[in-house]
């Protein structure tokens, strides 16, 4: 026999209802806690398995429970099962149903007992479990939580925040110096967000750069919301920091890729333009010519027209060469940069275009004292310099000799080359957006081809540099190249 009182006390503490099985009569005894838990009055049911199966247990749990119960009763086979039981207000309540030996505590009894433990009320276990999940989640997602208590004028961090901020666990997070937890450029942003949240109750969710105790900077998503007391006053701010360093890195990488894709897209667009316009105009001339030849009877005249085919095919060739030049810029990009001296490049150019310089009575004044050399693809530097010099001669002001001034220098750590001429100048208001486009010419010269500046710009940009210009009609043009 059980010492009922003692046993019931234990069970009270344990907060579990139970059944006591009578092997002889087959009738159970249901404990008072069992009734209480379900909100029924003690003794309001015939305490039999059949009644329980028919009216109280959830349909889905019925079969398994019946089997378990009978096996336990007849063959002493212990079991543990989750079941749902109908309570007095018509809801199903979840229980864990155990036999003696499945219990975490040892209850000595010669009688067969069946325990019903409320699943909802297992405070300690649930807490331990949720803490475990919380810790796992915090670590895996790199999310630290924090709380600022305005009353206590204190700030609290969880373990993960300490870890991310690289502070020792005994560090007391400071409210006064909280700016120090953010990278310099983000301190104003943090102050504004916290102030708005503390004063006006505006929750925030932002991306911000954090500064750790060791001076490391990482990108975090900072989310915070005000905490109110019963009177509706803001008494604190609760929130999380999630490290998004990896994401941010990827995002920045993505932005860079987009820039590259954009510039390649532009080049492709120009390509499409040459193909659709310039190549087509040659082929359509060919086809027009063939029509004309077909329409002419005189053999002499026909023969003359065939000469025109030669002309067209030459133009076609030139266009394809240009196309090829544009295409190779992307491939050449992989060439190695080497140290190139400006004066060497200029010497080569002077040699190769001496006749052009002579024809324009052109002088080139170079000053490389500010920057003697640059890491570059030599062929590009030559092509860029050559192009700007020949342009200066090509578009000279007829009333004066050409003077080209080349200067290299460093400004705020960036390397520059300036090429200034005293030529006829370009009306930037009219042509400003078209200067570096393909086959754009702004002068009335016969030999204006309109490919040079396009190539120059592409070469510079493929090495991450930029080119810009200032110009005044009648005075001259100055191109400025920033080397990447």
């Amino acid at each position: 026999m059980l010492q009922n009182e003692l046993f019931d006390n234990v069970m009270q503490d344990f907060n579990a209802g139970y059944w006591k099985l009578n092997e002889v009569s087959g009738i159970e005894m249901w404990s008072s806690v069992f009734y209480e838990k379900l909100g029924y009055e003690i003794g309001s049911f015939p305490e039999t398995l059949n009644y329980f199966l028919e009216t109280l247990i959830h349909e889905a749990d019925k079969k398994l429970f019946r089997n378990n119960f009978l096996m336990y009763q007849r063959k002493d086979i212990n079991f543990e099962q989750h079941i749902r039981i109908l309570n007095s207000i018509g809801d199903y309540q979840s229980f864990r149903c155990n036999t003696n030996d499945q219990l975490p505590i040892n209850i000595q009894s010669s009688t067969k007992l069946l325990f019903f433990m409320s699943l909802a009320v297992e405070p300690e276990r649930t807490l331990v479990k949720s803490y475990f999940y919380y810790q796992e989640t915090a670590e895996m997602t790199e999310t630290g939580s924090w709380y600022v208590d305005f009353k206590k004028k204190k700030s609290f961090w969880d373990f993960q925040t300490y870890k991310m901020m690289e502070y020792p666990e005994d560090h007391e997070p400071s409210i006064k110096d909280s700016a120090n937890y953010y990278a310099k450029e983000c301190r104003q942003q943090a102050a504004t967000l916290f102030f708005n949240c503390a004063v006006a109750g505006v929750p925030f969710s932002t991306e911000i750069k954090m500064l750790t105790a060791k001076g490391n900077i990482f990108w975090a998503r900072a989310i915070g919301k005000p905490v109110y007391n019963d009177l509706g006053n803001i008494v604190g701010i609760r929130g999380v920091f999630q490290s998004i360093e990896e994401l941010k890195k990827k995002e920045l990488g993505l932005e860079k890729s987009i820039d590259i894709i954009e510039s390649q897209n532009k080049r492709l667009f120009n390509f499409a333009h040459i193909v659709s316009h310039n190549l087509r105009s040659h082929t359509s001339n060919l086809s027009l010519l063939v029509q004309l030849i077909e329409n002419i009877a005189d053999p002499q005249e026909k023969a003359e027209l065939i000469d025109d085919i030669k002309k067209i095919s030459e133009s076609l060739n030139t266009t394809i060469e240009h196309l090829n030049e544009v295409a190779t810029i992307q491939t050449n990009k992989k060439q190695k940069r080497v140290l190139v001296y400006f004066k060497d490049t200029l010497r080569v150019i002077r040699g190769s275009i001496s006749h052009i310089l002579k024809s324009g009575n052109a002088t080139v004044e170079a000053d490389f004292s500010g920057l003697e050399s640059v890491n570059y693809i030599p062929a590009y530097l030559e092509s860029i310099m050559l192009n700007l010099i020949t342009n200066a001669v090509k578009y000279k002001d007829p009333s004066r000799d050409v003077v080209i001034k080349i200067k290299t220098y460093i400004n705020e750590g960036k390397k520059y080359m300036e090429v200034a001429d005293n030529g006829s100048g370009i009306d930037l208001e009219l042509f400003g957006d078209k200067i570096f486009g393909m086959y754009k010419t702004f002068h009335y010269n016969e030999d204006a081809v309109g490919i040079g500046l396009f190539i120059t710009k592409n070469q510079i940009e493929s090495l991450n540099g930029t080119i810009s210009l200032t110009s005044e009609v009648g005075l001259g043009t100055t191109f400025t190249i920033a080397f990447g």
Binding site: S276, H277, R280, S281, T283, S284, N285, L286, S287, L288, L289, Q291, L292, N295, I296, L305, D308, K311, I312, S315, Y439, K440, T441, F442, Y444, A448, G450
Partner: protein, 137 residues
């Protein structure tokens, strides 16, 4: 005797194309005189000059306009020409003849009432004949 167009005008920077069209016009006797401008600005300057000093007899009946040209392209020419068009007494028929097969170019051109039609290069000889036949003018 054929009822020929007296004066036509080509605005195009492609010298090969111009010389070919010239040959076709001569061979087929499509018009008496041909004006050639190598870009929109040259043509527009000419038309502005007519308004100022010259008699409007020097106004072409037909204009063949290219779109892609240096200095002033076909679009800019159209924009400028539309502002002075009402000052001419004689009717002017303008065709766009371009190598652009871009549908947006075709649509854009056809939306301009001044543009009678859009021909994609290579233009056919029979198309040229149709353009220059007096019935269409």
């Amino acid at each position: 005797m054929k009822n020929m167009i007296d004066l036509a005008c080509i605005i195009d920077d492609d010298t090969t194309y111009i010389s070919l069209v010239k040959r076709i016009i001569e061979t087929k006797e499509l018009c008496n005189n041909l004006l050639v401008f190598s870009n929109g600005k040259e043509a527009f300057d000419y038309f502005s000059a007519i308004l100022k000093n010259l008699s409007q007899d020097h106004m072409p009946e037909i204009i063949l306009l290219d779109l892609n040209m240096p200095i002033m392209d076909g679009w800019e020419f159209l924009e400028n020409f539309l502002t002075i068009q009402h000052k001419f007494q004689t009717p002017i028929t303008l065709y766009v003849v371009s190598s652009s097969i871009n549908p947006s170019d075709v649509e854009k051109a056809k939306e301009i009432t001044l543009v009678s039609n859009y021909f994609v290069k290579p233009v056919k000889i029979n198309e040229l004949e149709a353009i220059f036949s007096p019935q269409t003018v």
